[in-house]
């Protein structure tokens, strides 16, 4: 009943409250068609920081996928252990090959980024680490966070009732395990079993599963809140009066309208997933040697940081860049999709 009053001086209000973002409503409407999605895209492409970050992330991921097979063909056959063992680059340019004769070496034409305390190739290990980070991020965010979060968030917001109550209680419980505590508990107890069953893949699945379990309630809460807001919008009521079923309303109106929120939140959650995987590996609860992960690399080298700082700083810096890029992308997306949140 207050809407009429609000829009009485809608334009004036608009100018005053969000001056930088006034979309003129009385558009002469002769320009080329602008759609909400296209507008967001345009705003995103104007955000240099986010664009640079996106480029860096894409380059890093592509490198981690394309470079290893090439790198494994480059280099001489090494004669090791006084000639008892011959190793081709396809062997020693892998994350796990131990070379006692090239321990803690800096970058060289043989090992482009040098070796660690076991003589393992740092470049290969970093690239494998990036792959692990991205894999965990995809599993945590792509499957559990978005999947469960959207499903339960929409159901709780739209229908309320029991689903809502159960979600709320479950969320309370998960939130009571602060931060990584739940993941530490689960990976600590079941990690060995997972390794025994399926090796580092098993570990990655366990890590992703526990991390996913702790993030999706937050997503569900966002989605629930947004759904509740949307439900107040008259176009939802209008859809009902035109004979749409609840399922149709959810699919046609609710989901498209929460998509931008979900994309933004998911991007920001990727940072979190990358960090958390790093923490677990760092604590020795993630990927186990001879496998590689950025966190594990820090774990392995930090005791020798005084002598060989480079071996620790390299994975730390790569991880920092990765995390920072995703934060910038997420920030840029939020500004692009919801210009109101930015000032």
């Amino acid at each position: 009943m207050d809407i009429e009053k609000k829009s009485e001086s809608m334009l004036e209000h608009e100018i005053l409250s969000s001056p930088l973002e006034m979309e003129p409503d009385i558009l002469a409407a002769e320009q080329n068609v602008s759609t909400p999605l296209r507008d967001s895209f345009r705003r995103f492409t104007q955000d240099k920081r986010a664009l640079v970050s996106l480029t860096i992330v894409i380059l890093m991921v592509l490198t981690s996928l394309i470079l290893p097979p090439i790198y494994q063909r480059i280099g001489p056959v090494l004669s090791l252990r006084h000639g008892f063992l011959h190793a081709a680059p396809s062997q020693y340019h892998t994350p796990w090959f131990i070379n006692n004769e090239y321990v803690d070496k800096g970058p060289s034409s043989l090992y482009w980024l040098g070796t660690n305390y076991l003589g393992q190739d740092l470049l290969s290990r970093v690239l494998a680490g990036i792959q692990v980070s991205m894999l965990v991020a995809v599993m945590v965010v792509g499957l559990l966070d978005v999947g469960l979060g959207v499903l339960f968030g929409v159901l709780a917001g739209y229908y309320g009732g029991i689903i809502d109550t159960v979600l709320a209680r479950f969320t309370d419980l998960i939130f009571a395990f602060p931060g990584l505590l739940f993941a530490v508990l689960i990976t600590g107890i079941f990690g060995q079993k997972a390794i025994q069953t399926a090796g580092n893949n098993g570990m990655l699945i366990l890590v992703s599963f526990t991390l996913g379990l702790t993030v999706w309630p937050q997503m569900a809460r966002y989605v629930r809140g947004q759904t509740l807001q949307l439900k107040e919008q008259q176009f939802i009521e209008a859809a009902r009066t035109t004979g749409s079923t609840s399922l149709q309303i959810i699919i046609r109106h609710i989901l498209p309208n929460i998509a931008s929120l979900v994309v933004v939140a998911a991007t920001l959650d990727i940072s979190g997933a990358v960090i958390n995987e790093g923490v677990l590996s760092l604590l020795g609860l993630g990927v186990q040697p001879p496998g590689s992960s950025l966190g594990l690399m820090i774990n392995e080298s930090i005791s020798n940081i005084a002598q060989y700082p480079y071996e620790t700083l390299l994975p730390a810096a790569v991880l920092a860049v990765l995390v920072l890029c995703f934060s910038f992308i997420g920030d840029g997306m939020r500004d692009a999709f919801d210009p109101r949140t930015k000032d």
Binding site: I3, D25, A29, P36, Q234, S244, H253
Partner: protein
């Protein structure tokens, strides 16, 4: 009055209460948004439902369309009690009763093009081929005075008045017999209000629509309605044809409401005697006993606050021909005027 077959819509003793939850599941009470409303509408007429915010006028409209749970009462639409139908059956009836919404900004999905907005009801009722649907959309846009070439644009490219036209086109897509218009012009600028009001009037004649026109502005209602019902705190206090309502209001609330509306004429304004009501609207969670209006009623005050006003709720009764009022002292007004 009770001839159901003649009436398109008949509302009998409609009550809509909203529970006030107080924490751990217990109910503290209820907001009596609509508290026993009776009226009927003939095919082709426009009934204006007016009142101030919180009087239950919008709730009544939504309850008729079964958009919110009805506490009790019967709603006959085309002779059929809607309250006895299943959800699915109600969905089928929706083709025949539509709504025009108040807010031109939130009533259109920002991610839908104009043609998608209008297509939604058509799709839901399997209108026909893609081509037939496109033709129908163009036809509807022309009907509401919009250029069909705009069909693929998004709502944010249009002004409030234009969006309201789009909303009207959507509501007419399925050729409904009853259209409930909930404050359709109150969010619009004055110079645009008249455009939309005229459009609605024209459409009604052209398509022989039945309008329930909900508004807070009595001067707007006057233009479009043949009959007017005034609501106060969940009840209809007066109902008659619009001519007699404005010429000779019987209920003191109607009187006050009419006199509170400023008229754009300084000479007239100077001469008018204004009845200024004392105090605020009481809470619908806890309405005054007896006549809901007695706490602010100038007539009761003038008569020394008779006890009957405080103890007995007045019935909505026919005081003169086709003029219903819910006031123990409605004749008092008639005498004064007479």
């Amino acid at each position: 009055m009770n001839n159901t077959s003649e009436n398109l819509l008949e509302v009998q003793d409609l009550k809509v209460y909203f529970p006030i939850a107080s924490g751990i599941g217990t109910q503290r009470g209820a907001i009596k948004a609509v508290d026993g409303v009776n009226f009927s509408m003939k095919k082709g007429e426009t009934l204006g439902l007016v009142g101030e915010s919180g009087c239950g006028k919008s709730t009544t409209g939504r309850a008729i369309l079964q958009l919110l749970p009805v506490t009790s009462g019967k709603i006959f639409f085309q002779g059929e009690n809607l309250n006895s139908l299943s959800l699915n059956q109600i969905r089928q009836r929706r083709a025949n009763m539509q709504m025009i919404f108040q807010d031109p900004f939130s009533s259109l999905d920002p991610r839908y093009t104009i043609s998608q907005v209008i297509a939604e009801p058509l799709k839901n009722f399997r209108f026909g081929s893609q081509k037939a649907m496109q033709n129908r959309i163009s036809e509807l846009l022309e009907l509401v005075g919009m250029n069909p070439a705009y069909a693929n644009r998004f709502p944010h490219e249009f002004s409030g008045g234009q969006r309201q036209r789009i909303g009207i086109a959507r509501s007419l897509a399925l050729n409904p017999s009853l259209v409930i218009a909930d404050e359709p012009v109150s969010a619009l600028d004055v110079s645009v209000q008249a455009q939309v009001l005229n459009l609605m009037e024209d459409l009604q004649k052209k398509l022989s629509l039945t309008f329930l026109f909900i508004a807070h502005n009595l001067s707007v209602v006057r233009h479009i309605s043949s009959r007017v019902a005034v609501m106060y705190l969940g009840r209809i206090v007066e109902m008659t044809d619009s001519k007699s309502l404005y010429a000779m209001p019987l209920h003191p609330y109607t009187e006050a409401l009419l006199s509170a509306i400023p008229i754009p004429d300084p000479v007239l304004e100077l001469k008018r005697e204004r009845i200024v009501l004392k105090g605020d609207l009481p809470s619908p969670a806890n309405p005054p006993a007896g006549c809901h209006f007695h706490t602010r009623c100038p007539r009761a005050a003038a008569m020394g606050n008779p006890e009957i006003c405080r103890t007995e709720a007045p019935q909505l009764l026919e005081k003169s021909s086709n003029h219903l009022a819910a006031c123990h002292f409605a004749d008092y007004a008639a005498k004064k005027e007479g």
